[in-house]
Symmetry: D2
Subunit: 134 residues, 4 copies
Amino acid sequence: MTAAQFNWNVRVYYEDTDTAGVVYYANYLRFFERARTEWLRHLGLNQEKLAAEEGLRFVVRRATLDFVAAARLDDLLQISVRILKLAKASLELEQEASNQGRRICAATVQVAFLRNADFRPVPIPVSIRAKMQP
Amino acid sequence: MTAAQFNWNVRVYYEDTDTAGVVYYANYLRFFERARTEWLRHLGLNQEKLAAEEGLRFVVRRATLDFVAAARLDDLLQISVRILKLAKASLELEQEASNQGRRICAATVQVAFLRNADFRPVPIPVSIRAKMQP
Amino acid sequence: MTAAQFNWNVRVYYEDTDTAGVVYYANYLRFFERARTEWLRHLGLNQEKLAAEEGLRFVVRRATLDFVAAARLDDLLQISVRILKLAKASLELEQEASNQGRRICAATVQVAFLRNADFRPVPIPVSIRAKMQP
Amino acid sequence: MTAAQFNWNVRVYYEDTDTAGVVYYANYLRFFERARTEWLRHLGLNQEKLAAEEGLRFVVRRATLDFVAAARLDDLLQISVRILKLAKASLELEQEASNQGRRICAATVQVAFLRNADFRPVPIPVSIRAKMQP
């Protein structure tokens, strides 16, 4: 893990698979969110507190997913988070799920920072932006 | 469907199955909730409004599930709801998932009526109780 | 619904929402798959049989999702499927989730037709292609 | 963790919550399965291999769940597994989800050992039973 990249491991359980014997495609969005959440926690950000006390949260606006290969029951996936662009009220992230170095699913994710009450974008506080700088 | 029983159909999609080729066991609780929701809607109850305007909701307190047989992709399951007991601030329901008359999963579900803010039980309003009487 | 577009309704239940009060983002991929499955069924295709007897299935290779607005508990979403491109061994689809005409989530989905055993692309049978022509 | 009890931590993410602000009730069955899987792994059992090579698996036949209190986003739940009864072709387990010692959900789970092809019970191999003895 370089300063600019965060990694999080996700184990594949029965709940994640489907009858084709592979991880169900929607679940990669779950895995990517778990990694983003742990990345924010790692940066010292408490999303629950941010939402409860300030009514602010990060929300995915756009995601592009490439399903490259299949993952299966019991696989231990590495999920990465890397900042591509840090704008005033949004982020662009590159995320990847890989299995022992083999690429499984690759994504570009655009995340907006917004007020929960009206879903309006809000500038990311300087204290948070500073932590996100590579 | 008798006056005392409500039925709701649920189609099995890829998302509901697991790598063993059957419906993942936790998903029967989802199917049972869909049927309860549609039953309440059928009785004229708007859960969303009840929660938003009065801060009240039905919450499952206890569930006993028997997984009798497997369901598979594309099966069209019939989910039933039948009142076993109607108490002051709670309900006991019998629910079943069946496939063309064959029992797949059978459940007994205890549902409390409560205030969302503090999870304290609240008497079910007479107007709602009247609709629930068989 | 024109000849070239298929629509399927999806009700939002508790299971689909998250603590932010909206439909959890990964669930749109579930809704889109439900609509694709019902579209294939509508065309007379039995995916379960195709997989069991011929070992063939449609698999999403790429998806781009725009999360435009939020959907909430009890919303009845319309999910559309429209063919953008019909190639030899793949499809490009436009899918949208809308709520009473208001766009909630828009997607472009690339689907490959492949042999389940080795995930190799296989030409879509002429009988199926013929049904998919607008 | 005593010899007779296995514990596994589960973090609550957005995907696990619902619009009432709490963990969606069906997800406790997911959490319990994750803990059972990790317990079996801890005992040296490879479920994936057992299923692929011998066509055998553990399947839940009955579950009784008490939903005692609510869990929320970011909670770190401790999930326990304890054998209540070890029979020839089945197990009875006590499982609990707790948050810093506070009981959230308690379950009794009956698990059968069976042949995947016909769902018939099969005696649990002596090598596995020996590992399960407290």
